[in-house]
Symmetry: C2
């Protein structure tokens, strides 16, 4: 490279895609403080605050609750690589891209995924999970499920499946990347053994950390492993050593931790029920607006995620052209479809600081212009 | 948690430990811009800039050059988990904590580490590596070495060992976490196959990314694997898919990428030779100062890392008490020893934006006060 790239600032964007979502100015300000060392007592105190607030958010008392130093996918990998040993059977519900990713990770960890498929956009039925548990040729180590399938906008009912897993002596692993902080995730009340998330969706912090919590049963399973997990970086016993005992393991992303602390403070100041209500309210606003534009949801109403809305691209409309115009003419990002839904859905995220009424109004106005939908008071045309 | 933690700002600290080091205000400002989506064309252009500048920094033309979304340790894990397959033999030079960590990762990846040990604080002799290559009971997949051993302050000569590896048909894996950006690392000229680093040391960006580069030979070895690597998160072929082809794999830490871009711009504006000189110059300043205080280096002069200085704790001096006073009374962080060097050395990092003369002067003044060394003009005592 002979010439250096220029100084730069990002264009202004309203982030209404599948994440990252926008962050509150307070979070941005917190992340802009000068660095501390990762073993500085002042920084370790910040980590204690984060762990405590994560427990409140996960609704758990699990001592092993921390943030993995990576994106949401690192939370999935930490969960699976720590729980799954070679030869372990894991029942995996797959009704979208991220369920499929879980199955792939189980395979890479040397386990055998017993995949329970459901059509993309639907939930995995509890009966199908039960059948897989009963039909397995031997003990099942865990049942893995995506709570909020980001690729389809589907909300997976969990309570019954988590109970079924326990009844069959299996652990439960729940992906709450897109749900935590935007809708109820009740780790202790539902009896989830391992639950992980990402910071950049409903939590409202920049991407870079994956909050995770592990039940005492889950910890016992990890401690009883025959061999250490292949991963050193995401070894939960080593991560616990840093968070709990302050033993060096990695150099924590300092600014991300500042940001996460402030995002969690904001979240708990608002209060979980009020926050869930807000996400529900802006979803209803979006629903009314897009229905007025003649758009349809991929997922039936009962199973819809309020925070991630998959809308069918109308016949004859060019998915990519619409998203490009939204971005370039209106400064609004929404997501396209993944895998078999590519070019077939738009994904509208209303998460964290992005989940505000003025944002929905702005998106609806832009969509109305781009899709050329009839205006409220269309003047009569004269020949 | 019943009460929320208070609003907070970090205490002022001069970071002279083993990292993170301080960051230039320009880097902090860059990291404070509003978020973009991880697939926004404007963000993908930023990633292209980063990849190009990383090639300049690594002194390579390797197409596969990118930043793993994790700390320096994630770079080590990405290198080893992508290169090492079960049953592979890897000669690992161990003369400190991080060499030992490499051997541990080889073991976890299912490989067999052939450990070549040298006393902590010394370099691993090329002859010992050659003997291990000759004495191996079969083909050796790779030779893994730490260029700058952060636990001891030792600079490992590389050229001959990298050549030996190649002569024996083995790849070379080099840990340049503490050297890249502070002293010469010549990936192409020396023929290194895989080299990784961390952003928070001599590069002068916050922790959270691990730059990595892989030679065409290394890429061929990865592409020829019999099975995919256990890690999905750090799978270099998937990471390349995101960096090169813009296929979704993870949600990049957006702010960290902004920061890394600006840190690399600063670094290349200064110019690598000037930057290496600066690190050498402040090291000499520190050397003169601490020798004046009667302190001794752990490592012999020829093998000393300019950027990470391990100083022996004098007999009868309480390691921890000195570091606490430095932190609390003077706002200066230095590091303690790891493993067998705990309480036996102090580690003074002079890296990136921390490597400035006024910082060395401030540390020397504080050490002089705390260690009670004679002042330059001590007034005569009168009975």
């Amino acid at each position: 490279m002979n010439e250096l790239p220029d100084a730069w600032r990002p264009p202004a964007r309203l982030l209404l895609g599948p994440g990252p979502s926008a962050i509150d100015p307070r979070v941005l300000a917190a992340s802009s403080h000068a660095l501390l060392g990762h073993l500085d007592p002042a920084f370790l105190a910040i980590m204690d605050d984060v762990a405590g607030m994560l427990r409140s958010l996960f609704r758990t008392t699990n001592p092993l609750t921390l943030a993995v130093p990576g994106t949401g996918t690192s939370g999935m990998e930490a969960a699976i690589m720590n729980l799954v040993e070679p030869e372990d059977r894991v029942v995996v519900g797959v009704a979208g891209y991220f369920g499929g990713r879980m199955a792939e990770m189980v395979r890479r960890a040397g386990g055998t995924p017993l995949v329970v498929e459901a059509p993309w956009g639907t939930a995995v039925p509890a009966e199908a999970i039960e059948a897989a548990l009963r039909g397995a040729p031997g003990p099942v180590k865990a049942v893995a499920l995506v709570h909020a399938e980001t690729s389809t906008g589907m909300l997976q009912p969990l309570e019954e499946i988590v109970r079924l897993a326990r009844d069959h002596g299996a652990l439960s692993i729940v992906d709450a990347v897109t749900s935590l902080g935007g809708l109820p995730v009740e780790v202790d009340a539902w009896g989830i053994d391992v639950c992980y998330s990402g910071t950049q969706k409903c939590i409202g912090s920049p991407p870079g950390f994956a909050p995770i919590t592990v039940s005492p049963r889950g910890v016992a399973a990890i401690e009883a492993r025959r061999t250490p997990p292949v991963t050193f970086y995401m070894d939960l016993q080593l991560l616990r050593g840093y968070w709990r005992d302050h033993t060096y393991h990695h150099t924590a992303p300092i600014q991300g931790m500042y940001a996460l602390r402030e995002a969690l403070r904001l979240l708990l100041e608002e209060g979980l029920p009020a926050r869930w209500d807000r996400h529900r309210r802006v979803h209803e606003q979006l629903r009314r607006g897009v229905e007025g534009l003649g758009l349809q949801f991929l997922v039936e109403e009962m199973r819809r995620l309020p925070v991630l809305n998959a809308l069918r691209v109308p016949d004859g409309v060019d998915d990519r052209a619409v998203r490009q115009r939204l971005l370039q003419e209106h400064g609004i990002e929404i997501g396209g479809g993944l895998g078999p839904l590519a070019a077939r859905v738009w994904r509208v995220g209303l998460m964290g600081y992005s989940a505000r009424e003025e944002n929905v109004a702005r998106l609806l106005t832009a969509l109305r212009i781009i899709l050329g939908a009839p205006r409220m008071s269309k003047p009569p045309r004269r020949g």
